[in-house]
Symmetry: C2
Subunit: 256 residues, 2 copies
DNA sequence: GGTTGTGAACAGTTTCACAGCG
DNA sequence: CGCTGTGAAACTGTTCACAACC
């Protein structure tokens, strides 16, 4: 799939590593808390602790933004809040639509932190005609038929998909056709989008499976060392066989 | 992130890279779909397309699990489903508790994909005494006072925190003290946990901010090249796997 | 003194490209 | 021939450690 796109040649000065971008919101949150407590300055060590990273990483991250600190002193909280907000594009207003107002969509609509940082729920959209007009979080739900008009009238460029998996790609296509260029996908599906559109996904089931992997590993090692730990629950431990046998057939398979 | 450590010195042969682990659930989902359509074998190219990655990456990932393919042919779907499930620890039952039954907690409790893969909602816990006994998704909500007993009686090792930010660390401490060693955190807070406990976070507000960053950049470059077509930047690749995600300050209805 | 900013070493991840095998 | 499996190269991200500076 090509993905083509060379990297911007000018990716020298403005090129902030993706990993750094992903941490900026974390720093911003910690800084906002400090700001509310009227703390004037903070050292990389303190801020790093509050954000849950180590200080070297934080300093390196900030170095991509510029030299906003003062040696021997630290960083000015207000100034950094502003710089990071600007870098993230939070100094402007981002109207957002949420498509799929089920349990999750409603939870997202009610989510307070939404509005707090430049994001504004411009509309709620659902395919169920019976929901049309009903207010959720104070915003009336609109029908999918009007999706394109809603996007255009509100100048929406960020869409949140909270529909069932089966509807996600179709909704995605319509959002993109209407002008949306960033999508946050909660449906457990791989969305395909044209070049130029960003997709980020949030997938509960994947997160749990990753935890289960590590959990299983812990249980396995526990056996080797002690035995006194807290409970350990594996009911059906039964050997998780060391490794494959010489080939083998497929022993019972798993659930859906 | 967070979480940290994966060390284990002796983890050389069984050491599957974290990036690979994060993709296994994706492969598993694609394989399950193929399995349901009774597709017997699949090539790395086809499976990679279905999972939204490139084939070289997929083959490298599978090579960490063992040699489960057949040259010139591809992979046996059922066999791979089994192997990945086993590797992820999904052949056993994982009882999970959800703490904080607001909008989000309820959405999670109702989420079907939960039960489908070895995860079972063992209990719902909320601090609001008025909710006690009320069923959500068919499961009666229990009061926080009984948290420790619930964890122990059910042998729970995975906990989901969907409380407001202010309550998250306290809930986390109690979960850990009661024996939980893996936590999925939806509250917008950095949790601190002792060594040996895994935390993954899902933070909606962070995801949106990352999208806003890229959105802003697109808008900026548009000015430079402008003109016809979506020429701007692209990043078709599915974003990094979820690291953060939803929920923010007040997941709605939820008293501390 | 204290703390930032950063080059350089290191670690992890992705991609390439092709040998090896069915 | 076709497709997997994998070394090696390229790239991205993290950590170290210290010079520069207040």
């Amino acid at each position: 799939m090509a993905t083509g796109r060379t990297h911007r040649p000018a990716t020298r000065s403005r090129g902030i590593p993706e990993a750094t971008v992903a941490r900026l919101p974390l720093y911003l949150r910690a800084l906002t808390a400090l700001s509310e407590r009227s703390v004037p300055t903070v050292s990389s060590e303190e801020l790093a602790a509050a954000a849950g990273v180590n200080s070297a990483k934080l300093r390196k991250d900030f170095s991509y933004l510029g030299s906003y600190g003062t040696r021997g002193v630290g960083y000015d909280v207000e100034y950094l809040v502003y710089q990071i907000s600007r870098e993230l594009g939070l100094t402007q207003d981002w109207p957002v639509v949420i498509v799929g107002i089920g349990n999750l969509g409603a939870a997202l609509a009610n989510y307070g932190g939404f509005a707090s940082r430049g994001f504004r729920v411009a509309a709620l959209i659902d395919a169920d005609a019976a929901m049309a007009g009903k207010p959720v979080a104070g915003i009336p739900v609109q029908h999918t038929d009007d999706l394109e008009k809603i996007i255009k009238d509100n100048g929406v460029s960020i869409g949140v998909i909270a529909t069932p998996a089966g509807a996600a790609q179709q909704v995605c296509d319509r959002l993109v056709a209407a002008g949306v260029t960033s999508i946050l996908n909660f449906a457990p599906t791989v969305l395909s989008v044209p070049d130029g559109v960003d997709v980020r996904k949030v997938d509960l089931s994947i997160e749990l499976q990753i935890l289960a992997f590590h959990e299983q590993r812990k249980a396995g090692e526990e056996a080797a060392s002690d035995g006194a730990g807290p409970a350990a629950v594996t009911r059906e431990e039964s050997a998780r066989s060391a490794d494959q046998g010489p080939d083998g057939d497929v022993p019972a398979v798993m659930p859906a």
